[in-house]
């Protein structure tokens, strides 16, 4: 792909489109937004293929990182709007997850049900993590919050937030290596 072979882009798309769409969908919760993020991801991969360094990670990790960044850009844009005191219409998927976790009523029953389903899927996917580590990962990965924002929201010391994130990622890393070997 780095040499400008568009068939390589097609092959990359065929192999990873579902993975990338899954990430975008769970981060954004809206089909149209998720599709746009998928297209942006593969387009960025095409344009920046020469910067990919295989010694620094698998293609799947590289693409997943791009996908999450593109989805978080969209999510953070929503949050900026939501934080605008003049704007009361914005909402992030993290807000939706929070709402479903807290069993608080949401304005749209269908969206609330979808958010609750996503939250259940996320909880199941992270079931191997202790609850306190899962909370940090959900807020960072799905909510797009910074470490300071997580510390503030959870009332935990910043050092504790960092430690929980590291422990969680170390737990998650081992099965991924096996999964990737299986795929490759």
């Amino acid at each position: 792909m780095a040499t400008g072979d568009e068939s390589a882009l097609g092959a990359l798309y065929d192999r990873f489109a579902t993975t990338i769409h899954t990430i975008a969908f769970y981060l954004l919760g809206q089909a149209d937004e998720a599709e746009d993020a998928v297209e942006e991801t593969f387009w960025q991969a095409w344009r920046e293929a020469s910067r990919y360094d295989a010694s620094r990670g698998a293609v799947s990790t590289w693409l997943s990182t791009i996908a999450r960044s593109r989805a978080l850009d969209r999510q953070r844009a929503w949050r900026r709007r939501a934080e605008d005191p003049l704007d009361t219409t914005g909402a992030t998927s993290a807000d939706a997850i929070d709402r479903s976790d807290a069993m608080a009523p949401a304005p749209d029953p269908q969206r609330n049900a979808e958010a609750a389903e996503r939250a259940r899927d996320i909880s199941a996917a992270l079931a191997k993590l202790p609850a306190e580590q899962r909370e940090v990962i959900v807020l960072a990965y799905f909510g797009g919050l910074s470490q300071s924002e997580i510390a503030s929201r959870t009332s935990l010391p910043l050092g504790t937030v960092k430690t929980r994130a590291r422990l969680a990622l170390e737990k998650l890393r081992a099965p991924l290596a096996q999964h990737r070997e299986g795929v490759q």
Binding site: A17, T65, K162, A165, R166
Partner: protein, 282 residues
């Protein structure tokens, strides 16, 4: 680049860096350290594997097949255009009078100019009449969001159109006409972009379909095999368009055909074709 962070402090930040959860200043300091520390660079890559694991363990959400093939075709078309470094066709600049130029400038001002003008007018109004600032800002926010949405929709439309142009105008495109002898004279044309395996079918004057039925497009192979290329409903004026991605070797296609089939489509044609178009011999 100076490393002001130090190794121990950098190690503490790596997990949050992998999660893209550092502030811009924290990220800058870490980047400065990473440039000099292969151990932390390696550790960060491993932690990113942990982040990627989250996506891999979520229940898979597939794109809808139609959206999937359209997005793939669009990306491929963009990549072909990008690789070829295609310069957009420019219209010749017409000779205009100063008055016409001013009028043209007014008509072609980009959205931001209108927004800027709107903001100026609104701001002037607020000063002059002491309008409620809260309401004014709300109005501006709504105008800005509306313009963002319009811009995004236009960009998407442009990409769709570029994609279709690339599909219809590629060097390997073949055209198959399909005609009918009926009085209303339905007519169809298929553009087959063989290098991209993309099919764009357009039809006109199609009679309305009876309830519970749908039109189905077929690729008829030389070995008599018939492959469904999709179903479609005509508009009230009888026109229809269908796009599909399907690989067919150049010499194996004999014709295209359109039949009326029960809703949901058939595995093989069950009625006499309304339209048939044979491949032209080269």
């Amino acid at each position: 680049m100076t490393d002001r962070l130090g190794h121990e402090a950098a190690l503490e930040l790596l997990a949050m860096a992998a999660l893209d959860a550092l502030s811009p200043s924290e990220q800058r300091m870490l980047d400065a350290h990473l440039a000099l520390c292969p151990d932390c660079t390696r550790e960060l890559a491993e932690l990113r594997d942990g982040v990627a694991a989250i996506g891999a363990t979520l229940p898979a959400k597939k794109l809808a097949p139609e959206r999937d093939s359209l997005m793939r075709a669009r990306l491929m078309a963009r990549a072909v255009a990008d690789r070829a470094d295609v310069t957009p066709i420019r219209r010749p600049t017409p000779i205009t009078t100063p008055a016409q130029k001013a009028s043209l400038a007014r008509r072609t001002s980009p959205t931001w100019m209108w927004l800027a003008a709107a903001m100026f007018v609104l701001a002037a109004g607020a000063t002059a009449y002491g309008a409620n600032e809260h309401a004014l800002r709300k109005e501006l926010t709504a105008a800005s969001r509306s313009a963002d949405g319009e811009n995004a929709a236009l960009k998407k439309r442009l990409v769709d159109q570029q994609s279709m142009i690339a599909e219809l105008s590629g060097p390997g495109v073949m055209v198959i006409d399909a005609n009918s002898a009926s009085t209303r004279q339905p007519y169809a044309r298929m553009f087959w972009n063989q290098p991209m395996n993309r099919w764009t079918f357009v039809a006109y004057n199609l009679p309305p379909m009876s309830p519970g039925h749908t039109y189905q497009l077929w690729l008829v192979m030389k070995d008599k095999k018939k492959v469904s290329a999709g179903m479609f409903e005509p508009t009230p004026t009888g026109s229809a368009m269908l796009q599909a991605t399907y690989a067919v070797s150049g010499d194996s296609l004999a014709a295209i055909a359109v039949t009326a089939e029960p809703m949901g489509g058939s595995a093989q044609p069950t009625t006499t074709p309304l339209l048939i178009g044979a491949m032209k011999a080269e």
